[in-house]
């Protein structure tokens, strides 16, 4: 197989979604098709990432129309890593939703929407054309609208209004940026834009365009001050869906920011300072927001916001070390956050509630679950040798020399994350169970298997990212070197050099 393998992640998910639509009334078949398809995508992504035949950056043109007029599908290492992480979370959520999504939701199109969402994510990571990126973003958000409002009862609808409106606004802002960019350069291909944006004389208009992209993508990746839709909406969907959102959708925004601001716009002093302060405030407000929560999933939502700040910090500093930190953080964060929400779902199944006041005594009754949760929490908080620690080394190493506010806010955010987790641990695991409320102990064996298997799978991936830090650092440094030199990307798309 040659470069056309790059179409396969997208087409496989599309075929699965369409196939599942034919089994609209047979929920059992839908579940099995979903699991097998995600397993196939997982192996495909592993093949793309690790097989020596595909180790170079590849590109393929949709419909064989030549760049810069046709749509390019480009797969450098960052793309391959993101596709692999998406397939991992997709597989975990697929297995979890075997028992995690009740039949009533599954009957109203959970599985087709789920696969359209994964297809949109794969497309967004693989594309090399900025308007195509917009289209894939829209596919992702409309599938997520369906998933967030599935059930149409009071809580889901309350959450869907901020979610829908903020995401639509972000899309409009993003499209404005694309329009201005097209007007300035006449091209939509990212490699071509990279060449042309550097040569435009009207730098202030380029600056304005860059700010549109920062606002649009920042809203999608839940950066300060436009992140309030996230804590308002991520605590309501069923845990399988919440885990999918928490692990992947904000990281799509971060990926887009990294791609646009290393390839197309090179941030000058003003933009870097803007990104730096956005990162500082995101770190601070996210961490402080998590402190006061009494709802488990709301606390996790604020932790998502807080840790977006770490990735923005690395992006704003724009050195090799800091971008290595950002990429490593991205690799660490996706399985870790997805795992957190799956564990929250398990705790809900055991205790019947997401509120701290209804929980307690889980350490005594479920010591193994406590251990697993502890490992997952320590990983997110950044305790060595787990996976959250190593990206922080790179981030701190660059911010100590370049930016004091970032260093201070990163230290504060790490400490407050640990504090919020300690508070959660005390409430959920250590304190005595409130009397009068029974722990739900009657799980069937199949429920245990399908709930624990994805949690353990994501935990294993997370442990590998931590304990195999040498290997992941090499990948992150490769990616960082690739994205800091746009010529590598440009040479992939225009092999003879120069644009059309």
């Amino acid at each position: 197989m040659n470069e056309t393998i790059l179409f396969l992640p997208i087409l496989l998910q599309l075929a699965t979604a369409v196939l599942i639509l034919f089994f609209w009334n047979h929920i059992q078949s839908q579940k099995l098709i979903s699991i097998f398809s995600n397993l196939a995508t997982f192996f495909l992504a592993g093949l793309l990432l690790f097989a020596p035949a595909y180790s170079e950056s590849m590109f393929v043109q949709a419909g064989n129309w030549m760049p810069p007029f046709g749509i390019s599908i480009v797969a450098d290492t960052l793309t391959k890593v993101m596709v692999a992480l998406t397939s991992i979370v997709g597989l975990a959520v697929s297995v979890y939703s075997y028992v995690g999504i009740g039949n009533s939701r599954a009957r109203y199109g959970f599985y087709p929407s789920f696969h359209f969402l994964i297809m949109g994510l794969m497309g967004a990571f693989l594309t090399g054309d900025i308007f195509n990126l917009y289209v894939w973003f829209e596919i992702v958000i409309i599938s997520s609208f369906v998933l967030v409002s599935l059930g149409a009862d009071k809580e889901r609808l309350q959450a869907s209004i901020p979610y829908v409106s903020m995401n639509l606004l972000a899309s409009v802002i993003f499209l404005t940026g694309i329009g201005i960019l097209y007007g300035l350069t006449g091209s939509l291909n990212m490699a071509d834009l990279s060449i042309q944006v550097a040569n435009i004389e009207n730098r202030s208009l380029v600056q304005v365009c860059a700010v549109f992209f920062i606002v649009g993508f920042g809203m999608k990746s839940a950066a300060f001050p436009l992140y309030f839709w996230l804590p308002s909406s991520y605590h309501t969907p069923p845990s399988a869906i919440a885990s999918l959102f928490g692990g992947l959708l904000t990281k799509l925004g971060i990926y887009a920011l990294i791609r646009v601001f290393t390839l197309i716009f090179i941030p000058d002093f003003a933009l870097s300072t803007l990104l730096e302060w956005i990162a500082v405030l995101t770190l601070f407000t996210g961490a402080v927001g998590a402190l006061i929560q009494t709802n488990l999933r709301k606390m996790f939502s604020y932790i998502i916001v807080c840790h977006i700040g770490f990735m923005l910090a690395g992006l704003s500093l724009h050195t090799n070390t800091s971008l290595t930190g950002t990429i490593y953080y991205l690799i660490h964060d996706i399985p870790a956050k997805a795992n957190l929400f799956l564990i929250a779902g398990l705790i809900y199944r055991l205790t019947g509630s997401y509120y701290y006041k209804d929980m307690g005594g889980l350490q005594k009754s479920h010591p193994l679950l406590s251990f697993i949760t502890a490992v997952a929490l320590f990983s997110v908080a950044g305790i060595p040798p787990l996976s959250g620690f190593f990206p922080k080394i790179f981030l701190f190493r660059s911010s100590l020399y370049l930016s004091d506010p970032l260093t201070v806010s990163m230290i504060l955010a790490s400490f407050l994350t640990l504090f919020s987790f300690a508070k959660m641990w005390k409430e959920v695991f250590w304190k005595e169970h409130p009397t009068g409320k029974e722990l739900n102990m009657n799980f069937t064996p199949s429920q245990w298997i399908f709930t624990m298997l994805p949690i353990l799978f994501l935990l294993a991936i997370s442990l590998f990212i931590g304990l195999g830090a040498e290997y992941i650092t090499k990948i992150a440094q490769t990616i960082s070197g690739e994205i800091l030199d746009p010529n590598i990307y440009i040479d992939t798309v225009f092999p003879k050099g120069g644009s059309f």
């Binding site: 409002s149 609808l157 309350q158 869907s160 209004i161 409106s165 409009v172 499209l175 329009g179 097209y182």
Partner: protein, 113 residues
């Protein structure tokens, strides 16, 4: 022509953002619709406004209009149409279940932080 289009786009954006900040959900949706129209017109303007030229490149015809913005606008219209349809049905369902059109009242029903 460009001046007229610029003023038009500016007023669409302004009115769209104004409507987004209203308290009623229906007005918010109308604001999003106006913003969508504004951005479509913006792409049209930035693609180069020309009078009466076909979007075809051929050996005989030297003057042609740029077909790419037309394609972009069509795609954007279709996408925003689909999203707005979903948003309108969602608002209808929210009114049915929560019995209110007032965005402040939705937040009051939440109960915790």
């Amino acid at each position: 022509m460009e001046l007229l289009l610029s003023i038009m786009i500016g007023s669409l954006y302004a009115s769209g953002i104004y409507m987004l900040l209203r308290r009623s959900m229906v007005k918010m949706i109308i604001g999003l619709i106006l913003l969508g129209n504004g951005v479509n017109l913006l792409i049209f303007l930035l693609g180069g406004v020309s009078k009466g030229k076909p979007p075809i490149l051929s050996a005989k015809l030297e003057n042609f209009a740029d077909p790419v913005p037309q394609a972009l606008i069509l795609t954007a219209i279709v996408i925003s149409f689909g999203l707005q349809a979903f948003a309108i049905v969602l608002v209808q369902k929210v009114y049915e279940v929560l019995k209110t059109d007032d965005l402040d009242m939705i937040q009051k029903l939440e109960g915790d932080l």
